[in-house]
Symmetry: C2
Subunit: 360 residues, 2 copies
């Protein structure tokens, strides 16, 4: 039934009499939207898949059931790496994924998930909501008919699991590691070999020696995968992903067909889900790290400063090359790198100084 027919049949117009609500608002209340949300994660995957479930539930609850969203795990409706296309083509009204998966569409997407030595979760959100980042992200996805927004952040990730110690920069040479995105490009230039494979194959590949190392997320997800059984060393910090943003993709036409109150509900639910995920990861990583160290006796080690310093030099080169791909990439790079310069200065007197003081 079309919305107009429905409104005529139930005669909503008369309801508006005697109230100060516009009839269009009341009409909205009786119109239902059934949406699909495709995700790049296994269904119910802790932190990522569960955030997609939460987002869908928040939208349904806040809309009083006017939007119902069915969440699909990777491969249930489309494969993980087709989430972007599915939302662009209207196969699904929403998607839940990470922007760096779409670098094949346009390389600059990588600025909106994780940049080596880039922004932490708090800084990334500051750039997105108050530093011009969101407007640039929308500009980037506009040609694809997609409205992007942030719906979560993993916080600082771990450098990963290694089957040997990393004492010098030379130890990275010949290292076979699963590390995607810009971080992978940095490792290749450092002399390593990157291997791309789904999360589910990492455990056996580490066990068989097909991989020497892998990064994944952080203690919360890594503990669940059991990597501690097959790799001896757990390195930090996650220089390659200091605050990975998860994205909600919204089909533009589907969004525009919503009444204004439901549009706001969809966008604000994403913002609340964004707060939720970083809180979940901070709390759960914290518990899981404790279990890894005290129960499973994992060796948690810092990457040596000299190694980090060299990785940072290469990272800066890789990011500048990305910036020079096209005009929009340059515009995004200029925005985020100016923001990073200032926020680093602020971080020195705020987060960094306080975290050090608390350790005294």
């Amino acid at each position: 039934m079309k919305r107009r027919d429905f409104i005529q049949k139930v005669g909503v117009g008369s309801l508006a009499v005697g109230t100060s609500l516009a009839s269009s608002n009341v009409a909205n209340a009786a119109t239902q939207f059934k949406w699909k949300m495709v995700t790049a994660w296994p269904k119910n995957f802790p932190g990522l898949g569960t955030n997609a479930n939460l987002l869908a539930k928040m939208i349904t609850d806040m809309s009083g059931g006017r939007i119902k969203i069915k969440v699909y795990g990777a491969k249930e409706l489309v494969p993980a790496f087709e989430v972007f296309d599915a939302v662009s083509n209207g196969i699904a009204e929403m998607g839940h994924s990470g922007a760096y998966y779409w670098k094949g569409k346009t390389e600059a997407t990588q600025f909106f998930s994780a940049v080596p030595f880039g922004l932490t979760a708090q800084e990334m959100n500051a750039w997105l909501y108050y530093g011009g980042g969101m407007e640039l992200w929308r500009e980037l996805y506009k040609p694809f008919g997609i409205i992007p927004t942030a719906t979560g952040n993993s916080g600082v990730q771990m450098a990963g699991w290694f089957n040997r110690e990393i004492n010098t920069f030379e130890d990275l040479k010949g290292l076979k590691m699963r590390i995607p995105g810009l971080g992978g490009e940095v490792l290749r230039r450092a002399g390593g070999t990157t291997v791309n494979m789904p999360g589910g194959e990492l455990f056996t590949s580490l066990q068989s020696g097909a991989l020497d190392a892998t990064e994944w997320v952080g203690p919360y997800n890594d503990l669940a995968f059991g990597f501690y059984k097959v790799a001896k060393y757990y390195y930090y910090p996650g220089w390659h992903e200091p605050g990975s943003t998860m994205e909600a993709l919204i089909n533009e036409k589907a969004f525009n067909s919503l009444p204004k109150d439901l549009q706001q509900i969809v966008l604000m639910a994403c913002k609340a889900a964004n707060m939720d995920m970083i809180s979940e990861y901070t709390a759960r990583n914290n518990q899981a790290l404790d279990a890894l160290i005290n129960k499973h006796k994992v060796k948690v080690l810092p990457l040596p400063n000299d190694v980090l310093r060299k990785l940072k030099q290469i990272s800066d080169e890789v990011v500048v090359e990305l910036a020079n791909k096209d005009a929009l990439s340059k515009k995004i790079y200029d925005s985020v790198s100016q923001f990073r310069a200032q926020v680093t200065q602020w971080g020195v007197v705020s987060e960094l100084a306080f975290l050090k003081a608390r350790m005294l």
Copy 2:
């Protein structure tokens, strides 16, 4: 008009025929709620007052106008320090303030705004949403008929503006400083004198010498107050308030009278506003600090490690004393201090390690 009468008069029941929506939901769509929100801030005060405005607007927008909220600055309806009572008594349905203002009601409220050497914004939210903090907060406010939740965070504050250099712990002796809450108690035990006065009087008090020092918030708010004109030294980090939570207070009866979708809208709007404020402060502090250093030539200095170490020892004593006031205070203290111990360990390998690596 009571809701029941209203529903009967407009005959909403018939509207539900032919739709899959429960009639109660449709009834909701035609019921309007006019709420008041009293705040502890001057109307439109940057960051704090503007967050209250934003919160009210989000609720109205997401509800399609079914909840309209009039925001009152401090003194417009009730004075700043009567916000809690006003919400408790139903004079206003909502409040926007900081929990440490209510220590006169019950001392444990201080755990929910800022604790010296306690949790950062990200950690505080992790404790509230995923570490049991929110449940304890609700238990604490339950006897007052108030549902509390987080609606913002200032992030790490600055130690404050000083008219003299602080080189040793002894330099704190005799210092006349505006510093409220637990931090103030710490300073008193360190030999200082604390003075309580509204924000608007700080500038002239510093100028006249009635105050030697004041903390306020951070560069964003402090720049606007012009403190750089009357105090030479700007110290960091804000050991006394590492991540101050702003609270939304909701009158329990008013909340319970809302249909379920509007209840969700109110709570999720607070969560989205919480994400918004820390993003705003991170972005704006960052810009303001740049102006203070480069335009106004402010001397931004770290408190010496020895001073911080001693302040931390005293802080721990003060917080333990607070914990021993009553059983609920003890329960809250046990929860937050266990959380802090673990999250500090996680912070060492994540935020702290990354922020240091980025400076190499």
